[in-house]
Amino acid sequence: MKRFIKKILIFALVLLVVPLLFCIAVDPFNVMHPLNIRDNGVEPNKNYIKMTYILENPDKFDSFMFGSSRVGNFHTENIEGYNCYNMTYSSGLPSEHLNNIRTLVSNGIRPRMILIGVDYYSYAINPETHLTEGLRCPYEISRDDPFSFWKLYLDPAVVRKSLVEVISGHTPEDNYSKIFYNYGWNAAYDLRTGFTFADAKAYPTGYSDIESAVGCIREIRDICIEYGIDLIVFTNPVNQPSYEMALENDYFSFLRALSAVTPFYNFSGLNDITCDESNYLDTDHYSAEVSDLVLDCIFKNKVDDRLSKQGFGFYVDNNIDELISIIES
């Protein structure tokens, strides 16, 4: 038996150490060094890295913008009167925002303002799916269940899937980490991809839990009330194909449920912005210029009359029926 155990242990040790070193060396999601990330061509786990960075630098920002990557192109540094950081990450969900805000508050960080962008994906993605995704595993898991968190990032099968991108000779972007840590946005102004609606790939996710998603926003609202934080919620100006898909999947029910919890700015619906494909980088993401229009409306009350009549920038506060009748027409 000793011979057996000795052989198995040596074999297992050799075969496990190599993959382990491989995972640490490649680290495609940048979780091994969250305070010093590199642009390796793979989208990092922004949720984990941004949260770690903020907790290490609690006084650097006084406001935060949360949401999915759709909110990723907001140049929040342009919001006057605030020092706002774009906290968005891929597929960011209300339940994750709630956990992150709780963590910030419990670590003594009291934001002046929190902005949250929501849309169909806010209720149509099962948060549990993120637990096994290197790109999206939430920050809270690293704290509440560090074993599962690090097991994911030391799993060679997870790392292997991103290996092609890492070794494909990606040219690092200039100022990648500077932009990441100082602003948090993804796309610069003037970025265009030539996307057309014919290329759009808007599919229902097959999952829907409006009650949970809105319940999390309710809890965020309560935290904001408790700590005197200004909460601003808005709907993303998703493009026509995505919006039509959302409509078929209970989007109005979501808007109604959301309106019962908090006032919000609406930018969704069919309007001159969302029906113009040049405003979009791909199916899911609108440009930095569109993001500026949203910020102008929220912070400067500046919105084009024609757009306003189309429901773009409509402020919902006990008048959800009015919004729905506008965007339905």
């Binding site: 198995i8 074999f11 075969l15 096994t132 799993d155 099968a157």
Partner: protein, 479 residues
């Protein structure tokens, strides 16, 4: 506690170490405690079920030995065990069916909702217990007097939740008899576990999302998508179940116990009869010994023989799940088996001949062609699958292209296809093919050290680098 979980990766070595450290007289206790802990890790309440079924079979065995009317004892014990199985597994199916039928006569039954979760493995250990009682009745084995030993036999954790459904004469003496650590057996066990993990977490789990994409929303798909998803499901379920069996057998071998083989390269069969002698062997032989032969087998004329064959497959289908889809699946196999019987179709005489290859392909297509009944969620889905499989076939290029694109989705490119063939299909086919001739694991063990260890390293690396991320339960746990 899944075999492919970290919990089991800790549990098994702990049980293994304790088992060989402690004296023989305590080993049975250890296995019993480990097995009950293993079972309770799913649902602590359902341990009462297995305890009840164990007690029923144990006292039935003693009753038969004491010359109490054997037939009645067998009947009562089978009735009690099957009643539990019925309540937990089949009540909903029969109630809903009765309600549907009666609703045509404007009668509606009072709604009854038991809200019971199907206990994992209930069909397996119930059948093992019934098999024991019948074996005692037939005087093939003596009644077991040691309750702890008997309870361990029923609940032995490697085969508790999805078989193989063991025979008393094979498993019980192995648990009872004192044995020394067998190095070769333990090494073979580790190899089997690796093969099982390869089949399960590399092949089956990676194929599952493609199959689920189609079958969980089948009305959105037509044509080759359904055909491809069905073929992938054939491979998925084989790797899922035979992978489970390999891990079960490997785990048992680490404890010095040999469980029966459950799969022997089933897709290299030239008749349905041969297929069922290679697929889920422990269930096939159970039904043969305890259902088909008592029905009369082939001893009561050709007509009865065919009826008995058909009934056996029909009930076997129902055993798999509380859904008429499984009954249909079993019936289709039964019809084909009856067809073979009536027309006296025998296995190909010469292995590896052209005829043999062609007939293997025909049986593979037939077996795969029946799997929509196994995988589809309802009878209407089955009908949809069969009636839309050939949509668009008149334009073969787009039929294949669209089907492939829809099944695999936008994320699967050429490299993933190459991975699928090189990592999933080719090794599996080669392993099963060479298993027809020899025990591949022993054959590899006889190679030179460097070759052998290189092979092991490649297998372990493939498991580590290509496994599905996340834990997916075994399909047969639901039965």
């Amino acid at each position: 506690m899944l075999f492919n979980s970290l919990k089991y990766a800790i549990f098994l070595p702990v049980v293994f170490a304790l088992y060989w450290i402690i004296p023989h007289k305590y080993r049975c206790w250890l296995l019993l405690i480990a097995s009950y802990y293993f079972y309770m890790s799913w649902n602590i309440k359902y341990v009462l079920l297995i305890a009840f079924i164990t007690a029923v079979a144990y006292f039935a065995g003693l009753g038969i030995e004491k010359k109490i009317n054997g037939k009645i004892v067998v009947f009562i014990s089978a009735f009690l065990s099957l009643s539990l199985l019925f309540v937990f597994k089949y009540f909903g199916l029969f109630f809903d069916t009765a309600n549907n039928i009666l609703s045509h006569f404007a009668i509606s039954l009072h709604p009854v909702t038991l809200k019971l979760i199907l206990p994992v493995g209930i069909s397996f250990y119930t059948f093992q217990a019934i098999g024991y009682v019948i074996d005692v009745y037939r005087k093939e084995v003596p009644a077991e007097h040691n309750y702890i030993l008997f309870a361990t036999f029923i609940s032995f954790f490697p085969q508790l939740v999805a078989g193989p459904i063991e025979r008393t004469s094979n498993l019980l003496p192995q648990i009872r008899d004192e044995k020394d650590f067998d190095y070769d057996k333990a090494v073979y066990g580790v190899k089997l576990i690796c093969v099982g993990l390869y089949k399960k977490i590399v092949i089956a789990d990676n194929l599952a999302p493609y199959v689920d994409r189609i079958y969980n929303n089948i009305s959105s798909y037509t044509g080759f998508s359904i055909v491809l998803a069905t073929l992938l499901f054939t491979i998925q379920i084989y790797c899922d179940f035979s992978g489970y069996t390999d891990i079960a057998r490997g785990s048992a071998k680490l404890l010095g116990i040999d469980l029966m083989e459950n799969f022997k390269s089933p897709f290299f069969s030239t008749t349905i009869r041969e297929y069922w002698s290679r697929w889920h062997i422990s269930l096939s032989t159970w039904f043969k010994d305890y259902f088909y032969i008592p029905l009369g087998g082939n001893r009561k004329g050709k007509a009865r023989h065919s009826i008995n064959l058909f009934l056996t497959f029909l009930v076997s289908g129902l055993w798999h799940g509380a859904n008429w889809t499984f009954v249909l699946w079993g019936s289709l196999h039964g019809l084909l088996r009856v067809f073979e019987n009536v027309f006296k179709i025998k296995e190909a005489k010469k292995r590896f001949s052209v005829e043999w290859w062609v007939r293997c392909l025909v049986i593979f297509i037939a077996v795969s062609g029946f799997f929509p009944c196994f995988r589809a969620n309802s009878l209407s889905d089955i009908w949809y699958a069969y009636s839309h499989m050939l949509d668009g076939v008149i334009n073969p290029a787009s039929y294949l292209h669209d089907g492939f694109a829809n099944t695999t989705g936008i994320e699967m490119g050429t490299s993933a296809l190459i991975t699928c063939i090189l990592v999933y299909l080719l090794p599996l086919t080669l392993y099963d093919f060479f298993s027809l001739k020899t025990d591949v694991l022993i054959w590899i063990g006889e190679r030179k050290t460097a070759v052998r260890y290189l092979f092991y390293a490649v297998i372990v690396f493939i498991i580590l680098f290509f496994h599905y991320v996340g834990e997916v339960s075994f399909i047969y746990f639901q039965f």
